[in-house]
């Protein structure tokens, strides 16, 4: 049985000596969160009216922000190859429709995703290794529970990166967080970040298990201090997954972290976002909390599987002023 690293390396945020005490005082400075107030603010922003040109722009942006995801025990190379095709050209009849940001799969499926997304081009747009410009993201660290020894988790991460994943979605150790062992949570993220090498790290908080907004805000700060490139709400395997209020709390943490450190961390709500209408509400929340600097796939992603087709359907509606049958959109 392995234990977390006994000495924590110096942190640019937490200082040269990271101890339970420094982490504790760092987290104590995080403002508390009033649950009623968060729900109210998120509810008020959900009434924003995004129409016409603004809606079309938002829908296009949402497609470019999609991490098209399949995370099932029954996933096969065939399924992943089909999804890769969808990721590159979501709507084959409309060349204006952009590719999604990434294809998100289990480590076993990474080699197939990399091959399918290799494409003809030699470019590495968005810093991705694939020619198509669509990145390969892999969940790792014994997703979704994370209940494995650290060296096995980092081993899984290193394997996925070696297989060609350029983005890693890890889960935090919720048990350690809830028991108050924040140092352990921190050190595991640091270790995983190291194992990632050049790959981008998205840290999943699994907010449905953290339960309170105070926990979510502290876990967000902890993950960012430990080196997360993105923070992400959920695995999609626990209810509730992403909600507007929990996303607002995390966006506010990102804003505070950026103000304190100058580091811009990205946000990824995942799980349960299946309609264009809801996706646009997330973009409104993003724009009115972090501003237009964050309205880019480099800083915001949707973790979703069924959202993409609704985005396509709504774009078609805006263009043609009538709804198309769902049969006109591919189900992959």
């Amino acid at each position: 049985m392995s234990s977390p690293a006994t000495t924590t390396p110096a942190s640019p945020i937490l200082g040269p000596s990271v101890t339970p005490r420094t982490i504790d005082s760092f987290l104590r400075a995080v403002p508390s969160v009033d649950e009623v107030g968060v729900a109210e603010r998120a509810g008020a922003l959900a009434t924003r009216s995004v129409k016409r040109e603004s809606k079309l722009a938002a829908l296009h942006l949402a497609i470019r922000m999609c991490d098209l995801t399949t995370l099932e025990g029954r996933d096969t190379p065939g399924k992943v190859i089909q999804l890769a095709s969808k990721a590159i050209r979501p709507d084959p009849t409309d060349p204006d429709i952009p590719s999604v940001a990434a294809l998100c799969v289990y480590p076993n499926m990474v080699p197939y995703a990399v091959e399918a997304l290799a494409g003809a081009g030699a470019g590495t747009a968005n810093g991705t290794a694939t020619g198509s410009g669509v990145a390969v993201a892999s969940v790792a660290t014994y997703f979704p529970s994370g209940q494995a020894p650290l060296d096995i988790k980092t081993g899984e991460v290193a394997w996925a990166v070696a297989a060609g994943a350029t983005e890693i979605d890890m889960v935090i150790n919720r048990g350690a967080f809830l028991s108050g062992d924040h140092l352990r949570v921190h050190d595991e993220i640091v270790a995983v970040k190291e194992a990632c090498g050049p790959a981008h790290l998205k840290v999943i908080l699994e907010t449905g298990e953290l339960s309170t907004f105070d926990n979510v805000r502290r876990a967000s700060m902890l993950a960012m201090a430990a080196g997360a490139d993105f923070i992400k709400t959920s695995t999609g395997k626990v209810k509730p997954a992403a909600t507007l209020p929990v996303t607002l709390v995390m966006l506010e943490a990102i804003r505070d972290f950026h103000a304190a450190s100058g580091t811009a961390v990205g946000m990824k709500p995942a799980g349960g976002i299946s309609t264009a209408k809801v996706a646009i509400r997330y973009l409104v929340l993003l724009a009115e909390t972090l501003g237009s600097d964050w309205l880019t796939p480099d800083r915001f992603r949707f973790g979703a599987s069924s959202l993409l087709n609704d985005l396509l359907m709504q774009i078609r509606w805006l263009r043609e002023n009538r709804y198309q049958s769902p049969d006109y959109f591919t189900r992959d």
């Binding site: 403002p31 508390s32 969160v33 009033d34 009623v36 107030g37 968060v38 109210e40 603010r41 009434t47 924003r48 009216s49 995004v50 129409k51 016409r52 040109e53 603004s54 079309l56 722009a57 938002a58 296009h60 506010e252 103000a259 973009l283 409104v284 724009a287 009115e288 237009s292 309205l295 509606w317 805006l318 263009r319 002023n321």
Partner: protein, 499 residues
């Protein structure tokens, strides 16, 4: 901050719209004015029908966002007020006064349902005539107005249970004068309890916002309310004084400025008339260092910029614990840049038009005084429309208790910010005002909320929220903010015990 383009209608485009590559700059999303029919001219509403004024005078009412006239409205003189009071007396002694309480309730329920059914029409009318954002009239004013009628309807036949041992008979003819900041909601606050308890009403709406009252009068006629039960006399302060001073009026309810409230109280001394006053305020909004800061920011924004700050309970004096002042101000200034000021009919507008030229002048004067007194002013970058009455959201820091902007009610989107060091100092500064309508406290400590609420001289104390209203919750002031309560069982009491 954006100034919406108001030229494009709110419909899906039939041709392919051009893609806007950056940001989420909402294109104009204008609420349709189709459900609203505004007559070119309105008479008084007396004895269940439009009635030409004996004065034969009419005054214009305008849209403060465009300065364009909406309609002309009759100006009631003494003879007209006489007729209105006589009609109310007749109804009190007749159909309405004799009606069993459970029958009265049916009318109120019907009015409540009709307000809900026609809420979009009334919301647009409120926004056109008063300048408030459609988001607020749609989501707050109208739902709350209907809720007040539902709430009071429920009490109508249960008054003996609500007030055991008290005389629950009505007072008689009630004269009511309401302000321009929440025209429809103030009608509900005044008319619903008066009618539920069996009184009849002569109501004087504000000079700048008479249209919703006149539309409401027509709604009550459709609901079959017996003629004379509700009478509307429009006009300026002179008409209001005639209603208040009329010898046929048994009880006066006034919402408005403290200066006018004092005048009314002087005039009514010795007449035997009952009086309730809901007057001004300069509410302290107190932020402790352990507050949930981002939600407190929302509370502060809602407290002072809700309805352009035209709110008697607006949290216009922000008291911030020194240790968290810089942190909070950074958040507040950033949050202000996301406020959307502009066309009140745009569904994405957060701050609409100032209600009138006179009010804009008063705000401008007091802000100039604030600058002259040495306070530091901050306004976010903000393009205001050229026509209409507008004032940018404004913060003042470096404010002292002795500054006029810390003492006087500005009734606009202007926040005066001060600091304190200890809870006792917060209470001392908060209570250091002639007013006492409302207060807000933000802290994560439940015990401190209770400690503060015990000591704050305010009719309403909101904890970790602000500007929350509910028909079941009484609202009213201490000191120069008035007396009597509206809402809750307490709100029925002033209309009871006539005999």
């Amino acid at each position: 901050m954006s100034t919406p383009d108001t030229t494009t209608p709110d419909k899906p485009a039939t041709t392919t719209p051009e893609i806007v590559p950056t940001g989420l700059d909402y294109v104009a999303s204008i609420e349709s004015t189709d459900p609203v029919n505004i007559d070119p001219s309105y008479d008084l509403w007396i004895d269940g029908a439009p009635t030409e004024p004996a004065t034969n005078r009419y005054f214009p009412t305008i849209n403060p966002a465009t300065e364009e006239p909406l309609s002309r409205v009759a100006e009631a003189g003494p003879k007209d007020v006489d007729r209105a009071v006589a009609a109310a007396r007749k109804a009190y002694e007749g159909a309405w006064g004799r009606m069993p309480a459970n029958e009265r309730a049916k009318y109120l329920y019907r009015i409540a349902r009709m307000l809900q059914e026609r809420s979009r029409e009334f919301a647009v009318l409120e926004t056109l005539d008063g300048g408030k954002p459609i988001r607020e009239s749609r989501d707050i004013d109208l739902p709350l107005a209907a809720a007040h009628f539902f709430y009071c309807a429920g009490w109508a036949d249960k008054l003996d249970f609500a007030f055991p041992g008290l005389d629950t008979s009505p007072v008689g003819v009630v004269g009511q004068v309401i302000p321009w900041n929440f025209p429809m909601l103030m009608i509900a606050w005044k008319v619903a309890p008066a009618l539920a308890t069996g009184n009849t009403v002569v109501l004087k709406p504000a000079e700048t916002t008479p249209l919703s009252a006149l539309a409401f009068a027509r709604l009550t006629a459709e609901a079959g309310l017996p003629p004379g039960t509700l009478n509307i006399v429009t006009g300026d302060g002179t008409t209001g004084a005639e209603v208040v001073d009329h010898p046929g009026v048994d009880k006066v309810a006034f919402t408005g400025s403290t200066a006018v409230g004092k005048q009314i109280q002087r005039n009514l001394a010795g007449t035997g008339k009952r009086l309730t006053l809901e007057l001004g305020g300069k509410a302290p909004h107190i932020i402790f260092d352990d507050a949930p800061l981002d939600q407190a920011i929302e509370g502060i924004i809602n407290g002072i910029f809700f309805n352009q700050g035209h709110v008697c309970c607006a949290g216009s004096r922000l008291l911030v614990q020194e240790s968290v002042f810089d942190n909070l101000m950074d958040r507040l200034r950033l949050r202000l840049t996301h406020l959307r000021v502009g066309d009140p009919l745009d569904k994405n507008t957060d701050v609409g038009a100032i209600n009138s030229r006179a009010q804009l002048d008063r705000i401008t004067d007091l802000v100039d005084i604030g600058v002259a007194e040495g306070a530091d002013m901050y306004q976010p970058p903000c393009a205001l429309p050229e026509r209409g009455f507008w004032f940018a959201p404004t913060l003042f820091t470096g404010v002292s208790q002795s500054h006029r902007i810390a003492q006087e009610e500005i009734f606009g989107p202007v926040l005066s910010i001060m600091t304190f060091r200890t809870p006792a100092e917060a209470v001392e500064k908060a209570n250091n005002t002639p007013y006492g309508l409302s207060a807000g406290v933000w802290t994560s400590k439940g015990s401190r909320i209770l400690w503060m609420a015990d000591r704050l001289a305010a009719g309403v104390v909101w904890a970790n929220t602000y500007n929350k209203f509910d028909p079941a919750s009484p609202f009213g002031g201490f000191q120069e903010s008035g007396f009597g309560r509206e809402g809750g069982r307490h709100g029925l009491l002033p209309y009871l015990g006539g005999h």
